[in-house]
């Protein structure tokens, strides 16, 4: 019999703040984490806004890096690893999982991914190399920038010696990491996995690069909270966010045996590829549709059982392609479910998006409420299903589905259930 995988811990840091409770409260209150970029000069950039993680006092819901890593160690990691460590520490503490013996440590693994990794570190080190030569390149440059060092650092911090792996599938990273880690538990390669995604690409080279792809919003620099507006007629590109999300995934009997609190079960996971274009999704939404169908099949669910879809919904032209795929996947049942894009509040956290959105989907099945799509003033043509405009909505949520799609035509879909 297949081993069941449940969620026993959650942690996150996002533009809405530090911690799951802060995030969920602000999300349901329809607050936005988007603002004018404060970290660097944007005068020559087309995009001047983003979802930066608010730094400050944790009591106020802000991010205090010193709570998660000693200052001397913070210097040796890119910010994406710092965010990953914060989310992982929150999740591990929340789960209460502390392996007491070598076997327990060997059966606990880590799979945290990122879309881009240490972009700012690579940028800064390139300048050092050009201006001052190779002898001034830090010995910590490579381990600071490597994507799998998020998993590596977390494993070292906690002594988790099980599978140590990392996902790199652009904006689908977080969802793939959770789905793949769940499979490692299903297949008995581990009993517990720390799984999620992290990203910190809000830097000059990151904004310039996505601007060059014409992917970012540029029309709302003076009104940042209005910039991320999935399915709205005036949407003009995504807004970049940063942060991390981590789940503690655990084999069901293992969790029950130690009396852990169980938030939800990962019951469905589907993957597909578009084989179409490097940055655009296939226009017929075929890849998205096949990922959702695969997840439904794995979950043994019918289309009338999904009550909430946390959309990929990035506030780009692709929003309507995803909506079309949902309509074709769910048929008439698409008009009974609620679908929202929490990126309207957080911006797009790239490799962390799928992880934080899985947490939001889990919260929706626990609390029986769906978070809103901010700024949905005038839905685009054909956007006629319930997209939860502007206000959270109490409703029955039996099962929730979360979509994540990435550059390169990579699609992942997760389905979560209450236990």
């Amino acid at each position: 019999m297949k081993r069941r995988v449940v969620v026993t811990g959650m942690g996150m840091v996002t533009p809405l703040g530090d911690g799951v409770d802060t995030n969920w409260r602000r999300l349901l209150a329809a607050e936005s984490g988007i603002r004018a970029i404060q970290a660097f000069d944007t005068s020559d950039l087309a995009t001047k806004i983003a979802g930066e993680v608010p730094v400050g006092d944790r009591e106020a819901g802000h991010f205090n890096a010193d709570l998660y890593m000693l200052p001397k160690d913070q210097r040796k990691v890119d910010k994406f690893i710092l965010f990953a460590m914060a989310a992982a520490k929150q999740a591990v503490e929340d789960s209460g999982w502390k392996p007491q013996d070598e076997e327990g440590r060997n059966r606990t693994g880590v799979m945290i991914g990122a879309g881009i990794g240490g972009l700012q570190t690579i940028y800064e080190t390139s300048l050092v190399l050009k201006e001052r030569g190779p002898r001034r390149v830090s010995p910590f440059f490579i381990p600071s920038a490597l994507i799998n060092l998020a998993s590596g650092q977390v494993s070292i911090e906690f002594g988790f010696k099980g599978p140590n792996h990392s996902v790199v599938t652009a904006c689908a990273t977080g969802a793939h990491a959770i789905g793949d880690a769940a499979r490692l538990i299903e297949w008995d390669d581990a009993d517990v996995m720390v799984a999620g995604g992290a990203e910190a690409a809000i830097c000059r080279i990151g904004i310039a690069g996505f601007n060059a792809c014409k992917a970012l919003s540029t029309d709302f620099n003076d009104t940042p909270t209005m910039a991320s507006r999935p399915w709205d007629k005036r949407r003009d590109g995504f807004v970049m966010g940063e942060g991390a999300g981590c789940l503690i995934l655990e084999e069901y009997e293992h969790a029950k045996k130690r009396g852990a609190k169980i938030y939800a079960e990962i019951i469905g996971y589907g993957l597909s590829g578009d084989a179409y274009h490097i940055t655009a999704p296939s226009e017929d939404g075929d890849g998205a549709q096949r990922a959702m169908k695969a997840a439904l099949k794995r979950a043994h669910l019918n289309t009338d059982q999904i009550d909430y879809v946390n959309a990929h919904g990035t506030s780009t032209m692709a929003d309507v392609i995803e909506l079309g795929a949902v309509k074709r996947t769910f048929g008439a049942d698409a008009y009974k479910l609620s679908m929202s894009s929490t990126k309207s509040a957080t911006g797009h956290l790239l490799g962390a998006a799928g992880a934080i959105e899985a947490i939001y989907a889990i919260k929706s099945v626990i609390d029986q409420v769906v978070p809103p799509t901010l700024n949905l003033d005038e839905p685009d043509e054909g956007c006629d299903i319930d997209l939860v405009p502007k206000q959270a909505k109490q409703r029955q949520v039996r099962y929730a589905l979360s979509n994540s799609f990435g550059f390169g035509g990579t699609n992942a879909c997760l389905i979560v259930a209450p236990v």
């Binding site: 001397k72 160690d73 002898r135």
Partner: protein, 79 residues
């Protein structure tokens, strides 16, 4: 020249996150101050930067204690 010793100790405190009182001249970077091999590379780079000198790899390998560093720099410093 005691200024050099103070500047070396300050760099060690900053980079290794240790208390100033621990940074004695006979303290070994790896055994006593918790450094790993990458930390020692970074420390040598920081000494080069601070004192405007070049520490060749074979000399760097011999710098294992705080006193070794102060000694090398006193013998080679321009500033």
């Amino acid at each position: 020249m005691s200024d050099i010793a103070e500047r070396v100790k300050k760099i060690v405190v900053e980079h290794l996150g240790v208390e100033a009182a621990q940074v004695k001249e006979d303290a070994k970077f790896i055994d006593d101050l918790g450094a790993d091999s990458l930390d020692t590379v970074e420390l040598v780079m920081a000494f080069e930067e601070e004192f405007g000198i070049e520490i060749p790899d074979d000399a760097a390998e011999k710098i294992q204690t705080v006193g070794d560093a102060i000694g090398f720099i006193k013998g080679n410093a321009k500033s």
